[in-house]
């Protein structure tokens, strides 16, 4: 039986919620914000994608080969090595020092180029990631490859060899597909999909494995794309009036009488 090759794309992002409110300072010339001091993480949607792929591989009736792919600098290598320990067969980084924030076209092109050189039948990746919030890369990758795409995926299972069951969130319910590869699955909100943790032994077992690093030329203006021309901090402050009171009950009473009663009556 021929193995099914699955490519899982992920991105390492700063955990922006850790940045203190006064840490949001925009460099007016470069249109950047310093986020490198913040702890890094795998983009949560991509984390779900990686876990869904591992579960898929465990339950699939036939052999599955998993490739993890990221685009970026060497800060991602630690995560790629971890994915080796979690039984990914290949861990690849398309090396670039380019500003990747608003270049979904370029990243999608790099993914498509990788797939054309390294055949895969299924691409799984998160639908969107912080910083750029473009929500476009998986969709554009599918377009560039001429593959169908299912977005907002919450579940991927193997029904039989070459037939997948894919469940996706729609605006007023769910859509369930019985789909044949090739396919791009853009992973959305998946409950219960934290990425598993490798043991020390598993990590030790892959210590000698090297991350595949491939130079990637990201076309700067692929498809005319879009150009960042401004960046501003959003001020979300409101009055933040504090309700005083000796007990929670007293505070609830004050809140109700002074601020809610009238508003509720008007609803």
């Amino acid at each position: 039986m021929i193995a099914m090759n699955i490519l899982v794309c992920f991105k390492v992002t700063p955990d922006l919620d850790q940045l203190p409110p006064d840490g949001w300072e925009v460099d007016r010339a470069a249109l950047t914000v310093e986020t490198s001091f913040v702890k890094a993480m795998i983009n949560p949607y991509d984390e779900s994608a990686l876990e869904l792929a591992l579960r898929f591989a465990e339950d699939a009736p036939g052999p599955v080969k998993l490739t993890a792919l990221t685009v970026g600098d060497r800060s991602a290598d630690r995560y790629l090595k971890m994915l080796y320990a979690l039984k990914f067969d290949r861990a690849v980084r398309l090396e670039t020092g380019a500003d990747l924030r608003f270049t979904p076209e370029g990243i999608a092109a790099a993914i498509a180029a990788f797939v054309s050189r390294n055949p895969h039948q299924l691409i799984i990746m998160g639908r969107q990631s912080g910083v750029g919030d473009n929500a476009a890369t998986p969709l554009l990758a599918a377009e560039k490859l001429g593959w169908p795409c299912i977005a907002h995926v919450t579940e991927i299972r193997s029904l039989q060899e070459d037939l997948l069951k894919v469940r996706a969130q729609a605006d007023d319910g769910f859509l369930s597909y019985a789909a044949r590869p090739p396919l791009v699955a853009a992973v959305g909100n998946v409950p219960h999909a934290y990425l598993r943790v490798p043991t020390l032994k598993e990590r030790l077992g892959v210590r000698e494995k090297k991350v595949e690093i491939v130079a990637a030329a990201l076309p700067a203006e692929e498809g005319a794309g879009c150009t960042l021309t401004g960046l501003d901090v959003i001020d979300r402050r409101r009055a933040g009036l504090k309700i005083e009171g000796a007990t929670p009950q007293e505070k609830a009473g004050a809140l109700y009488e002074l601020y809610l009663k009238e508003r509720l009556a008007k609803l």
């Binding site: 919030d133 929500a135 919450t154 979300r236 933040g240 929670p248 609830a252 809140l255 509720l264």
Partner: protein, 323 residues
């Protein structure tokens, strides 16, 4: 700028799609010549009602047999081959944001998701949208026409929009369209209420991870019902499957716009806050005075939320005139 709005009439959220796009058109394209709307619908629907929703004077009603994005995309690609619009507008929901990006690629244009505002500037279109997980607003400039944009959800639709009278009306029966989706027809599974109720609700109660167990979430949901509020949760709560996915509020879920929002045990990451920031009035109940939400709420109770909410619920229930 010649524009076309594309709506998914098969989805039960068609009303908010229509309102959202209409208000975007009114605010951003007021001086443009009247636009066109393409609206997909299925056999089962009331055509008159759908016509009344059109945000543009010219309307093309397309009857479809499938309601998935891949199918719509094939249809649109064919329909728009010789179209001369420079701007295609999609609602900011899941379907719309997917179509905008993919259609742009097929038409050789450029795209952007979740756009709040646009300004035409010579050969460029400046678009404004939130980035950095909701902490920053970016201006991004597009050059390649046609522009395919999805609108940021939760735009201010309360502002009274001008009633649009449909002057030009066409119909197309695409149910025989065979090239359709390469994926085949998906099975549709309706979720009771879905996120629609939350999106429209005038009064919501939202629980975050400060509410730290399934039982407590369940209790708050009861309290919400007793108070007459619609219940929603933050992403971590939904990811723990303590509440259904469609009750998820924030950039990855529903964008609400209630008159009154009570947020309980929510720390207030920007990605969450985007989901309630259109609220007219925000009450935060939190034990942690330093939580970012405390700064972004109108009024704040720093205390144990369980006691506060139980008491508040009792007070609201005692008030006979309330819903």
């Amino acid at each position: 700028m010649k524009y076309t709005v594309v709506l998914n009439g098969c989805s039960r959220n068609i009303y908010s799609q229509a309102e959202e796009t209409a208000s975007f058109v009114a605010e951003n394209l007021g001086s443009a010549p009247p636009g066109r709307c393409i609206l997909f619908y299925s056999d089962a629907q009331n055509k008159e009602e759908l016509i009344a929703l059109s945000p543009a004077e010219s309307l093309l009603l397309v009857k479809v047999k499938q309601r998935d994005p891949e199918y719509y995309l094939s249809l649109l690609t064919g329909l728009l081959q010789n179209d001369t619009s420079s701007l295609y507008l999609f609602p900011g929901d899941l379907c719309g944001s997917e179509l905008a990006i993919r259609l742009a690629h097929r038409l050789g244009g450029s795209s952007l998701a979740a756009v709040e505002k646009i300004e035409e500037d010579g050969e460029e279109l400046h678009c404004y949208k939130t980035v950095y997980s909701g902490y920053l607003r970016a201006q991004l400039s597009l050059r390649q026409k046609p522009y395919c944009l999805s609108i940021a959800r939760g735009g201010d639709t309360r502002r009274c929009r001008k009633a649009v009278k449909v002057l030009k009306f066409e119909e197309l029966d695409a149910t025989g369209f065979e090239k359709g989706s390469p994926l085949g027809e998906p099975e549709y599974e309706e979720e009771a209420n879905g996120g629609l109720e939350l999106e429209e609700a005038p009064f919501i109660l939202v629980a975050g991870q400060g509410v730290n167990s399934r039982e407590k979430i369940t209790r708050l949901k009861e309290i919400a019902a007793e108070m007459g509020a619609t219940f929603g949760v933050s992403r971590p709560v939904a990811m723990s499957a303590w509440a259904p996915l469609h009750s998820l509020i924030g950039v990855s879920g529903v964008i609400t716009r209630p008159q009154l929002c009570i947020a309980v045990g929510i720390s207030g990451a920007a990605a969450f806050f985007a989901g309630i920031e259109k609220s007219k009035y925000i009450v935060a109940v939190n034990i942690d005075e330093l939580a970012p939400l405390v700064q972004s709420a109108d009024v704040v109770v720093i205390d144990d939320y369980e006691a506060v909410l139980e008491e508040l619920c009792r007070l609201i229930k005692e008030q006979p005139s309330l819903p």
